[in-house]
């Protein structure tokens, strides 16, 4: 079939009346969705609206409780990913499904190998990967190990993985959430190339601007129900936001200027650290966060931010340098000591560092405080009542959408998992907050919420170190802004006195200028 035919092939997928119930929640309550070849179809909705579940149904990970899926007009039952793959459906998950230790090529082909007899035909595999890379502008080295790749590269691997399996329908679950802003444009170019090829794509995002830029139509979900499908030609950001939330959304954050007393709360001097492979990742970083202040750290992911944060919080040993909290040296203290001294950490990897996914929301809500009264009774006992009661209160105050506090954390939508972490950490009334990518994957309301929380903490006098890839976030929140590039901090700016372009340039290693 040639390209022209493909793009006029019409409807690729139709989902009719999809219902998906979990114990205590109806994640999808009768959703219709139509997806055409040659179309980028946006799927919008607040955290927990049911986007991932709906797409997991299409990819065969969940069986729908009710409803019917049609592929090119034929009713099908997709009961495993294997069936979906054979039907030409590919999915790039919100959390990547790659084996860090294996090579790009191995990751790409597993389950769908090109072989000569029983043997992997590595030569042909490499050739095919190269062809696809060139065709869609997705550059990767098939022989490098996935653990050595940046997030952007891993994402390319995921897309190539789907294309390698001959996907004609491609589901992209929040592909831009972890992508540095500088790479989004290139990513869109790839999407457009795939669309011109006639592929059908579902694009899940929380960034309305992106949805309007790249999508042909968008479907909005709210609390498991479909609100509607609209063409992007006559939609506006405000209109979409209203559809998502059910009320008008103001994109403004109250940002009262509280003067800092200039009392340093967190001081970092000459801090150096190495990454997991023992390569220097942080080199002689100095920074100070004062009371009533948010210090923003910008930078493309992989420039040492992760290691810097971990070294400050006592999760990674520093090779050199000091960390002082409120004037006291705390370098190398355990995270528990840190927390008791008033420093809390909102980790960037919520699955690895933030939550125990198999534990209940209640247990996660007191992680790190399990030894404190009233949660602990003596040295061994735990008060289930106190824990559940406290968790219920947090869930209420931080508007976590969850059927009950005994639900395991893994059953929460991405955004709600983040709310649990925030609730737990901020409720400790910290003096210093080290927040890494705190709004990643959050919906508009969620972002607004986190920003308000951080600003409230600042108003109360906390010092906040905010590491983020999102320049808009940093420009909005930070009092001062530094850029991290290859393990070093370059330049210090005040938002409002510099523009985004200038910071963007620094993030890519552009000339360092001292203003």
């Amino acid at each position: 079939m040639n390209e022209r035919e493909r793009s006029v092939r019409g409807e690729a997928v139709r989902m009719e009346g999809i219902v998906k119930r979990f114990p205590g929640v109806t994640a999808n309550a009768g959703i219709d969705l139509s997806l055409n070849y040659g179309e980028v179809h946006g799927l919008l909705g607040e955290n927990g609206a049911g986007k991932t579940v709906l797409m997991s149904v299409l990819y065969g990970l969940y069986r729908p409780s009710e409803g019917q899926i049609y592929l090119e007009g034929n009713p099908v039952s997709i009961d495993s990913p294997a069936v979906a793959i054979r039907a030409g459906i590919g999915m790039v998950h919100q959390h990547f499904m790659l084996v860090p230790r294996l090579t790009v090529a191995d990751n790409m082909v597993v389950g769908w190998e090109t072989s000569r007899g029983p043997f992997l035909d590595r030569k042909r595999i490499r050739k095919r990967i190269k062809e696809l890379s060139e065709q869609y502008g997705l550059e990767v080295d098939p022989d490098s190990a996935v653990e050595e790749l940046s997030v952007g590269e891993q994402q390319r691997v995921e897309i190539l993985k789907a294309l390698y399996r001959g996907a004609e329908v491609l589901i992209l679950d929040e592909p831009t959430a972890t992508l540095p802003e500088q790479e989004v444009e290139a990513f869109f170019t790839t999407i457009r190339a795939m669309r011109d090829e006639g592929k059908a794509m579902v694009f899940i995002t929380h960034k309305l601007r992106e949805a309007l830029t790249i999508c042909d139509r968008v479907t909005v979900l709210r609390k498991g129900e479909k609100v509607g499908t609209v063409p992007t030609t006559d939609a506006t950001e405000a209109q979409l936001a209203e559809m998502m939330v059910g009320r008008e959304v103001v994109f403004e954050v109250q940002r009262d200027r509280v003067a800092s007393e200039g009392r340093p709360l967190l001081q970092v001097e000459g801090l150096s650290a190495v990454d997991d492979r023992n390569v220097p990742a942080v080199e002689g970083v100095d920074l100070t966060v004062h009371d009533h202040e948010i210090l923003g750290v910008a930078g493309v992911q992989g420039n040492g931010q992760t290691e810097l944060v971990e070294a400050i919080c006592g999760l990674r040993s520093a090779v050199q340098g000091h960390v002082m909290l409120n004037g006291e040296a705390v370098t190398g203290s355990s995270p528990r000591k840190m927390a008791e001294a008033g420093l809390v950490h909102i980790p960037e990897d919520r699955h690895r560092r933030g939550l125990v996914l198999n534990f209940s929301v209640a247990e996660n809500a007191i992680l790190g405080r399990q030894y404190e009264a009233p949660f602990a009774i003596g040295h061994v006992g735990q008060s289930k009542r106190a824990i559940a009661g406290y968790a219920r209160e947090l869930v209420e105050r931080f508007s976590v959408v969850v059927p009950g506090v005994r639900t395991p954390a893994r059953a929460l939508s991405g955004g709600n998992q983040q709310r649990v972490i925030l609730a737990r950490e901020l409720d400790r009334k910290p003096k210093v907050i080290v927040a890494a990518q705190p709004t990643r994957g959050l919906d508009v309301a969620g972002i607004e919420f986190v920003w308000e929380q951080l600003l409230a903490m600042r108003r109360e006098g906390a010092g906040i170190l905010l590491v983020s890839m999102d320049l808009d976030e940093l420009m909005t929140l930070a009092d001062r802004l530094v850029v991290m590039y290859q393990g070093k901090l370059v330049g210090e700016h005040r938002p409002g006195e510099t523009d985004k372009q200038q910071i963007g340039l620094l993030m890519l290693g552009g000339a360092v200028e001292t203003s």
């Binding site: 294997a82 998950h93 790659l98 082909v109 597993v110 389950g111 029983p118």
Partner: protein, 285 residues
């Protein structure tokens, strides 16, 4: 006395064979994500059944097949426990070991009227199994790193969710390789009986556990795991010669002491499959 000789190397190979069979077996399980410490008991079960079947049928080949069969059955049961019932892998394995140890005493009394050993039974030339082992080690190495099934196996043990979304049936894969582990343990047991010409309840004597250790020292790779097992066989052979020189109580400890020392050096450095011992819970509703 000529302690070191070509002869020693040959004896070492023979002593290493049961250890290496188990090491190879454990390798497949653990690569799929299942810990099986029941290999010790599975090998003993293989030996026991081989003895019994040889006794009644008079066919050493039938005995060999039965040993493999019982191993596969135990591997299957272990997999059902670990994969579907999400039992703790170590506890499930220990249960097998205890069960088989008891069964060995009971059945030897029943069949031969001796507690814990058999009369002599028909046997094959054990070298048949040694050669089989050498072939299997090479095949396993190629299988694991050059074939598509090997790749799938590695992904299942490293990242079951990724395997699942790539269209691989994680549960079925784990069960299949656990059964293969059992088969190889059965071969280890059959070798011991064919080597000695009879069954004794103590004949595995920790070789199953040492097989697991050899696999770790061999960093989850077939050929290195075999070499580690061979090292054990070599020290075992050496200690037999040394028995003339030093008290046997001490010399017999050597292979075990060596295992502990080598393991202490290697543990923590091996590339343990990331999902080892963790149940995979498929998100379903």
């Amino acid at each position: 006395m000529d302690v070191l000789s070509l002869d020693l190397l040959v004896v070492a190979l023979r002593l290493a064979t049961p250890v290496a069979f188990v090491a190879l077996g454990e390798l497949f399980s653990e690569r799929a994500g299942i810990i099986n410490i029941g290999v010790e008991g599975s090998a003993l079960a293989g030996a026991l059944i081989a003895g019994i079947v040889a006794h009644y049928s008079g066919s050493a080949w039938l005995a060999l097949a039965a040993a493999v069969g019982i191993g596969m059955l135990l591997g299957f049961i272990h997999a059902i426990w670990c994969v579907y019932l999400r039992a703790n892998h170590v506890v499930a394995g220990a249960a097998v070991n205890i069960l088989v140890a008891g069964l060995a005493l009971f059945l030897t009394v029943l069949v031969w009227d001796w507690r814990g050993r058999s009369a002599s039974v028909v046997s094959l030339d054990p070298w048949i199994l040694v050669w089989l082992l050498l072939v299997l080690v090479v095949v396993a190495q190629v299988f694991l790193f050059r074939t598509r099934w090997g790749l799938r196996l590695r992904v299942v043990g490293e990242h079951p969710q990724a395997a699942d979304t790539a269209g691989i049936n994680v549960y079925r894969t784990r069960v299949a390789y656990s059964v293969l582990t059992g088969a190889l343990c059965g071969l280890a047991g059959a070798f011991l009986v064919n080597n000695l010409g009879r069954f004794t309840a103590g004949m595995v004597g920790g070789r199953g556990f040492i097989g697991i250790a050899a696999m770790v020292v061999g960093n989850y790779k077939p050929i290195p795991a075999f070499l580690a097992a061979y090292l054990f066989g070599f020290v075992d052979a050496l200690q037999m010669r040394l028995q003339d020189v030093i008290p046997s109580e001490i010399s017999m400890m050597l292979p075990y002491v060596l295992t502990v020392i080598v393991l202490a050096g290697f543990l923590g450095k091996a590339n343990v499959p990331a999902a080892l011992g963790k149940p995979y819970i498929k998100e379903q509703g």
